[in-house]
């Protein structure tokens, strides 16, 4: 099972578009070697649009008793971003290093004091910088109508989330997210 999860986490795919494809070259300046056949353009970096579905699993604590909390659920996010250097096909992951995004998720299964319940839906917006994403949003539980704000930070597949539901109170969860990005890549 663990190996399946590792493989799933690596199963990224991406698609190239040729928009803005020419590289950077100082046309006005003659080549240093006047007999050169070819001067390679410089890399302008890449733009990306990533659609990233995945699952999140976390444990944490909540203000009200029983305090221990576990949750598991799906999430899909969309990130529009860029990378200063173009990716290499050898790489495991293609993911915008800088960008902004939004996510829709559902803390579908919440285990709290031996009870398993459906958790809240949530929507978030966030910013990615150097591979670290941070943002916030709003959660709403259709089962009981409880709702409230939430904040999160994530990097390298790990995340930390704080949520405040107006009826249930505050909670903090930390866990792992396994996502399979589908990325459209084009030149900057």
């Amino acid at each position: 099972m663990r190996r399946a999860i590792v493989l799933l986490s690596l199963a990224a795919c991406h698609h190239h578009r040729d928009t803005n494809a020419p590289g950077i070259s100082d046309i006005e300046v003659p080549p240093a070697d006047r007999t050169a056949a070819h001067v390679d353009p410089e890399d302008p970096g890449e733009n990306m649009l990533a659609v990233i579905p995945g699952v999140l699993a976390a444990g944490g604590i909540r203000k009200d008793s029983p305090h221990a909390l576990g949750e598991f659920g799906p999430e899909v996010s969309i990130v529009r971003g860029s990378s200063p250097r173009s990716h290499s096909e050898d790489g495991f992951f293609i993911y915008p290093m800088t960008g902004i995004g939004g996510a829709l998720g559902w803390s579908a299964l919440r285990v709290n004091g031996g009870d398993a319940d459906l958790g809240p839906l949530y929507a978030e917006i966030y910013r990615v910088d150097e591979g670290v994403a941070a943002g916030g949003g709003w959660s709403w539980n259709p089962a009981d109508g409880d709702h409230g704000p939430q904040l999160f930070v994530t990097s390298l597949g790990f995340y930390l989330r704080g949520r405040y539901l107006f009826d249930d109170g505050g909670e903090i969860t930390a866990g792992l997210q396994i996502k399979v990005p589908v990325v459209w890549v084009w030149s900057r």
Binding site: L7, L10, A11, A12, C13, H16, D18, T19, N20, A21, P22, G23, I24, S25, D26, I27, E28, P30, P31, R34, T35, A36, A37, H38, V39, D40, P41, D43, P44, S86, S88, E89, D90, G91, F92, V185, S187
Partner: protein
């Protein structure tokens, strides 16, 4: 049973798999990128080491009695990797690129050595040594080679009439620079027909959508001695990125010049070409057009003879 329990008498704790793992790391990260001693040997060395060590690693973290199964599975997966384009692509997405090369199957017999090695007994060892050996070999197997690809970019190319003889000068032209802001042309002039005076009077690039771009050569007047070669740089500055995005990817370069006092017009079709989004690193650039042999002026003494 935990993974550490399974490797209590680990087959990894022996100089053979440790050496194979070390060779795999060195080869993938140092020798392959440098193609040393050459690309074929470096590629085969990785295959040999990987084929030997992978069944040993899998046996170490699973069960000893599965050793034969792991050897067979490694052989089947390796053969698929080297023969099936679809499987090769799928593995490439997960694990990094791997050459689709049927000649690599010549490395398969090393699996017999791996199987023989797994049949021998293995001395028990401490938990720390077992964990260190397992981690090292796992990293060696999982680590992908150094990047073998890099971004490729569209480049303008002369598609015809790149090497005409114009009067006393043998000429050649090629696009030496190409980017978002235009292209730079190198014009080579070779006075094969004796001393030759060349005047570049005008240059233009007409794109397929009718846009006209003027080029300004960095040298306009050249007095070439017999067999002398000169290179003139001729930049055409325009929004090549916008043209690319609009699908305007061809044009005609026209150079008006006079060689030996005779006016000439040199027209060359050009295309903006992207071969692939990525290309192999360190690909050799295309060669410049070959030069004709040019015999220098015969010395007076030789003439007298």
């Amino acid at each position: 049973m935990s993974v550490l329990d399974r490797v209590r008498a680990s087959p990894l704790l022996h100089p053979l798999p440790l050496l194979a793992g070390a060779l795999l790391l060195v080869n993938d990260h140092l020798l392959k990128p440098a193609a040393w001693p050459n690309a074929a040997v470096a590629g085969k060395l990785s295959d040999l080491c990987g084929l030997f060590v992978f069944p040993v690693l899998m046996t170490a973290i699973s069960r000893r009695r599965w050793a034969t199964g792991w050897v067979l599975a490694t052989g089947v997966l390796f053969a698929l990797l080297k023969l099936s384009p679809g499987f090769n692509r799928a593995v490439g997405m997960l694990w990094g690129g791997n050459a689709l090369d049927a000649t690599d199957l010549a490395c398969l017999p090393v699996l017999a050595l791996s199987w023989l090695y797994l049949q021998r007994g293995h001395a028990p060892a401490g938990a720390l040594r077992r964990a260190a050996a397992t981690s090292f070999i796992a990293v060696a197997c999982a680590a992908t080679p150094a990047p073998r690809y890099q971004r490729d970019f569209p480049f303008w190319e002369i598609t015809a009439n790149a090497t005409p003889v114009l009067g006393c000068a043998e000429t050649a032209a090629w696009v030496v620079k190409s980017g978002k802001t235009g292209l730079g042309l190198t014009v080579r002039l070779h006075a094969t027909g004796g001393a030759c005076k060349v005047d570049l009077t005008a240059a233009s690039l007409r794109l397929a959508n009718g846009t006209l771009v003027r080029g300004v050569p960095d040298k306009r007047h050249l007095d070439l001695a017999r067999c002398q070669i000169e290179h003139v740089y001729l930049p055409f500055r325009f929004d090549s990125e916008a043209a690319w995005n609009l699908g305007v990817r061809s044009g005609t370069i026209r150079i008006d010049l006079a060689t030996g006092g005779v006016a000439q017009t040199w027209s060359m079709p050009a295309s903006h070409v992207l071969r692939a989004y990525q290309t192999t690193r360190n690909t050799a650039p295309p060669p410049t057009p070959p030069l004709s042999v040019c015999a220098p002026d015969t010395p007076v003494k030789e003439m007298a003879k």
